[in-house]
């Protein structure tokens, strides 16, 4: 509490009398920054719950026998983990927390286009979350997060409908956010903020919103159809009633493959910001990175059949889906190459956000390349539904989305709270996350290739060493997630005031105070330069003036 030189009138500041008025000022706020904080708290809560379920799964897998729980309880544990992590953490996390906070700030707007719809999206998120949690409390679901029919529609006797209702409602929360971003980015850019001056974070959020708005309704209807079949016995997916279970997979993956890009594209946006700032360089190939986001968004709609190579899908369909899946590698590789080209001859400082960004690049490359293995029909048939798949998507989701989220959270934390966190602990925990992550999931590639199927709680003894390694890694990973909670909360009390622009970064969000005032800018900013307008010689000047202990 020694140094409290934070700006006086900020979005966090209240002059409301009494506790109830204070609570109301948060729960009924239409300020995008406050809604982002509400999302931050609730999404992190769900992350911890999903992590708890993962812990249960990993502990069971320490021994080859099913000695901790029955197969039935195990099914419910991994389903809970999957449903919470996918629908209530990975999909909303970056758009709803960082996007909500930063989209208006980065384009020089006072708020999102529809502030009330923004608040509604948070309530829908919470409402959906309560449904999903009540399903868990009332006995859980055992279908897996994919709700495959005919098991989910006919045979499962667990709380399928409640969970589906939760995911369905949460879908509307996504749509509201996506709609808001699209309209805001089209209509509310500050004077001079042309499309090609937008930060890449905005481009990636625009691409993400496009996917959200076009794909989410499909999963909503699909889940509704499952509920209709369960409740009224209408034959949609059950062959005994004239339906087709594979139709479910088509509809489900039509959303859920693009959903992968809903999770990872905002992460790409974060990484572009971090790499440019901490290399002190104009990003290499701005237009290519921007358009590769759009290309991924569009191609992502054409590859869903790669989840169905063994589901009696026509072999010709598999062939085409496999080919288009390969094409997705092109825009993804463009991004990775451009980030590494940005690093080249940059003045790189290994601050906490940058450590996460560099970790992201490495892990995403592994996750992306194993995706190519899985996109090849012949290899996929061998490893379908094994731990190879589990390892692959955790490398993309955890190694990609979570690394980007943590990197972004650290990068914009001073802007959100006005205070700096402990840099030493930040660096340590970033390294712990990286090590723990690889130790958890790399053995799973080996396990899967050796034939360990996913979603089994009993396994042959020769797999034990790899499973124990994975569980040990998971506990290290957990420590890596807990440390930031502690020092970030500590920074709220004892953190040094950050100042407006602690990273010496470009971008409109750094031109206003930290934390920003309620209406973001005291006067509407006018943009005259491109994004990442670091002076060409910035890197060289930095390098020359650097001394041990220099801040940047």
């Amino acid at each position: 509490m020694a140094t409290t030189a934070l700006p006086q009138s900020t979005y966090l500041h209240d002059d409301t009398p009494g506790l109830w008025a204070w609570i109301k000022s948060w729960l009924f706020t239409v300020d995008h920054k406050r809604i982002a904080i509400l999302y931050l708290l609730s999404i992190n809560f769900f992350f911890l719950l999903g992590g708890l379920a993962a812990t249960v799964v990993r502990i069971e897998l320490v021994t080859p026998q099913g000695d901790l729980m029955s197969s039935d309880v195990y099914n419910r544990a991994f389903t809970l983990h999957g449903v919470i992590m996918v629908f209530f953490f990975l999909i909303p996390v970056i758009p709803s927390v960082l996007g909500n906070f930063l989209v208006p700030l980065m384009i020089g707007a006072r708020d999102l286009a529809f502030p009330r719809i923004n608040l509604l999206s948070w309530y829908l998120y919470m409402f959906g979350g309560i449904f999903a949690l009540s399903a868990a409390v009332l006995g859980g679901v055992d279908t897996g997060w994919t709700f495959y029919t005919p098991f989910s529609s006919t045979y499962s006797n667990s709380n399928v409908i409640l969970t589906i209702a939760g995911a369905f409602i949460m879908g509307f929360s996504s749509i509201a956010t996506g709609l808001n971003f699209i309209v805001t980015i089209h209509k509310m850019r500050a004077p001079g903020m042309t499309w090609f001056r937008l930060p890449l974070f905005i481009w990636s959020h625009y691409a993400t919103s496009l996917i959200i708005v076009l794909a989410t309704p499909v999963v909503g209807i699909t889940l509704l159809l499952v509920a209709i079949e369960r409740i009224w016995g209408v034959g949609i997916f059950d062959p005994a009633l004239g339906g087709d279970p594979v139709l479910f997979q088509h509809l489900f993956w039509f959303y859920s493959h693009p959903a992968v890009y809903i999770m990872i594209l905002p992460g790409f946006g974060v990484i572009s910001e971090l790499i440019a700032t901490f290399s002190r360089k104009r990003i290499f190939g701005y237009e290519f990175i921007a358009f590769s986001s759009m290309a991924i968004a569009i191609l992502g709609f054409l590859v869903w059949g790669h989840h169905m190579f063994v589901s009696s899908q026509s072999v010709y369909a598999s062939l085409i889906f496999s080919f288009i899946t390969m094409l997705v590698a092109i825009p993804s590789a463009i991004k990775v190459f451009n980030w590494t080209a940005t690093l080249y001859k940059g003045s790189i400082s290994y601050r906490t956000p940058m450590l996460y960004a560099l970790g992201f690049i490495g892990l995403f490359v592994i996750g992306g390349l194993t995706g190519i293995f899985l996109g090849v029909v012949a290899v996929d048939i061998h490893v379908t539904d094994t731990y190879f798949v589990v390892a692959h998507f955790h490398y993309v989701m955890v190694g990609g989305t979570i690394m980007a989220y943590l990197g972004g959270l650290h990068y914009w934390w001073p802007k959100m709270t006005g205070r700096m966190y402990n840099e030493v602990w930040g660096g340590i925990s970033a390294l712990i996350v990286f090590v723990g992550f690889n130790m958890t999931f790399f053995p799973q590639f080996v396990l899967g290739y050796l034939g360990m199927p996913r979603r089994y709680h009993v396994y042959p003894e020769e797999f034990q060493i790899l499973h124990v390694l994975s569980t040990a890694g998971a506990s290290i990973l957990a420590i890596g997630f807990i440390i930031p909670i502690i020092y970030l909360m500590g920074s709220l009390i004892a953190g040094k005031p950050a100042g407006d622009n602690p990273w010496d970064a470009t971008g409109l969000e750094w031109q206003t105070s930290s934390p920003p005032p309620t209406h973001n800018f005291h006067e509407t900013p006018i943009v005259t330069t491109e994004a990442y307008a670091y002076p060409p010689e910035a890197a060289e000047l930095d390098a020359r003036s650097w001394r041990p202990g220099s801040p940047l």
């Binding site: 089209h186 076009l214 499909v218 139709l247 509809l251 899908q313 026509s314 072999v315 010709y316």
Partner: protein, 126 residues
Amino acid sequence: MATTNPTHSADGHGAGTHDEHAHGHIGRGTYFRVFGALMVLMILTVVAFYVEPLLGFNRLVGVIIAMAIACTKTALIVLYFMHIKISERITQLYAAASFVGFALLVIIVMIDYFARGWPPAPGPLP
């Protein structure tokens, strides 16, 4: 498409007072006429269902007729009730994009169904 639409100005809506509506306005009369058309089309669907067997139509023809009527109704709702007819270009683009997405879903799924079992899968080994 995104030009002003002055054909329905004789109503009490205060056309053109908001700038969002600068691209045109749909009068109350039009809404009622569209609603009437939708009702007529709905009755037509039901009538077709009962009349087609009497005329000895193939079931496929029946499906095509029902789909044609349904598409007409969708077009009316999208153009008038959802204001796409008088919206900005970008809104029209998004509406078109959602149809393209939907068409991709239906066409690709149908291709898969059509091509199932080509070539015939080898049965269980003897």
